[in-house]
Amino acid sequence: MSGTRAPLRYLILIGAGFVMLYPLLWMLGGAFKPNAEIFQSIGLFPAHPTLEGFTRGWRTGTEFSFATYLANTFRIVIPKVILTVVSSVLVAYGFTRFNVRGSRVLFALLIATVLLPKSVLLIPQYLMFREFGWLDTFLPLYVPSAFATDGFFVFMLVQFLRSVPPEMEEAAVMDGCNSFQVLVHVVLPVILPAVISVALFQFMWTMNDFLGPLIYVSSVEHYPAALALKLSIDVTESTAWNEILAMSTIALLPSVLVFFLAQKYFVEGATAGSVKG
């Protein structure tokens, strides 16, 4: 609190920050090192920087290059994010702007789904998708999002919407707009920051999703990057760490880029759900 303690504070924070970032920096440095050098030093900077980790790792040990796996990842993430945003906005609007009987119960159910451990639903959902014939496709990974199954985002938007005064919407209604027009033209622009947060969080969570693809995707050609990485550490060839670190770096690149571009929205989004609730 006082000025004399500031240097100490900075020291602790910088030290802690460095320790926190070290694994990421090590990964990045290791990706550029020749394989043998990784074991020799913990130095972050490669003594003999090389791109061979990337070039060899990109080719992967399979018949597909990493490009295929990254493309698959986006084939899952993009639909999922879009469907999540659309359905969450619609449902949140329904909860907050309409006098629906039993909406309290439904809202409580929504909270319950957020707190529910997903492992209890995993197997029946798998069997259900199997009966649909959706195994080894990406459908089980994003179709549920069209139905606002990620309750956390609905919750977040509801909290946000509750704090938005309805005057502008009421004015629009008096001008003769129906609820959907009000939603699109009046509400959406106002809640846009929250919507962006939803999109970003779902983007990140889906990029990181592993268990979903693990149980639903069985052909190597449909593997997203997460499964391809796991495959690469199971290969029978000798451990090429630099390749694996290089591919890990690439797999994380989209998330890191998004994070840096939109840090603000992450922070605001994370807090919107918690503090106001």
Binding site: R9, L13, F98
Partner: protein
């Protein structure tokens, strides 16, 4: 509420209702039914046989299950307090007009964004390998290499460290909560002669209790569902020392194909989390202080 017409409301809620029924309620009930049946993944569904509580009885005698339950509890009850304490501590340190806030936010928050990914788990595995980053760092301080992935206790430590590394998301929430504490309250207290510690205990913490509660519940629920780390870093070993319950459920269903037993295990996990959540909400009356109400914390 601005629309008296409820019908459109139902329309907007329709996706949620369908999703609730199809993707949550139905699997939920199905899971319970499966836990009462003997069903193997390679069979067609018609072959499922009803066996009552046999799976639950089997659990009571299953040594592996006991071990898994034990390590899961250990994992949750160690990582959650540590993670919250770290998050709160760093948040308090950050709660000032600091220069380089961007760097700090990146350093502390980015890991929690990336940490749940396979890429990080893979990096973690290599970092804790015999001649990996961690042992090299330890060696730099003169200590001997640790068999992180080969020794039961250390393997669990490496998995726990991965979760702890991701404290950033909780930290950000704490920061927001800290910013919500009215400064004039603190000033008044300081003027009255309150010391640093008293300020913390009497003002900061009580006012933070809603945020602490929220973080606590979310963290515990997430910790009980940890899968990526143990699966990729240690594959549940050595000696099942990192065989967390979600991993056991996965293996029972997708490696041993014993869907009935896996469903029973998942229901048990649900009950544990449910009981815990209920207890947490019950207890919140006693220690969570919402400034809107006039109750004083005990």
């Amino acid at each position: 509420m601005i629309y008296a017409n409820a019908r459109s409301g139902w329309l907007y809620l329709a996706p949620f209702l369908v999703g609730l029924a199809v993707f949550t309620a139905f699997p939920f009930v199905a899971s319970l039914l499966l836990s009462f049946s003997d069903y193997r993944l390679q069979d067609s569904l018609e072959d499922a046989r009803y066996i009552g509580l046999a799976h639950y009885v089997a659990m009571a005698g299953d040594r592996t299950f006991h071990k898994s339950l034990g390590v899961t509890f250990l994992y949750v009850f160690v990582t959650v307090p540590l993670k919250l304490a770290t998050a709160l501590g760093i948040a308090m340190l950050l709660n000032f007009r600091l220069r380089g806030i961007g760097f700090f936010r990146t350093a502390f928050y980015l890991p929690s964004i990336l940490g749940g990914s396979v890429a990080i788990a893979v990096v973690w595995r290599y970092a804790f390998a015999g001649d990996g980053l961690v042992n090299q760092a330890i060696g730099w301080f003169g200590a001997g290499p640790v068999n992180w992935l080969g020794e039961p206790g250390y393997a669990m430590a490496s998995v726990m460290l991965l979760r702890l590394w991701q404290f950033g998301s909780a930290m950000v929430i704490f920061l927001a909560g800290l910013k919500g504490i009215p400064q004039d309250l603190c000033e008044a207290a300081r003027l009255d002669g309150a010391g640093h510690w008293q300020l913390l205990r009497r003002i900061t913490l009580p006012l933070l209790t809603p945020v602490i509660f929220f973080n606590f519940v979310m963290q515990v629920i997430q910790a009980f569902q940890e899968f990526n780390g143990p699966y990729i870093i240690t594959a549940g070993g050595p000696l099942k020392s990192t065989y967390l319950l979600p991993l056991m459920i996965y293996e029972e269903a997708f490696k041993y194909f014993d869907v009935g037993y896996a469903s029973a295990l998942s229901w048990l996990l649900f009950l544990i989390v449910g009981i815990f959540s209920a207890l947490a909400f019950r207890s919140s009356k006693y220690w969570v202080f919402y400034s809107a109400e006039r109750e004083t914390p005990r």
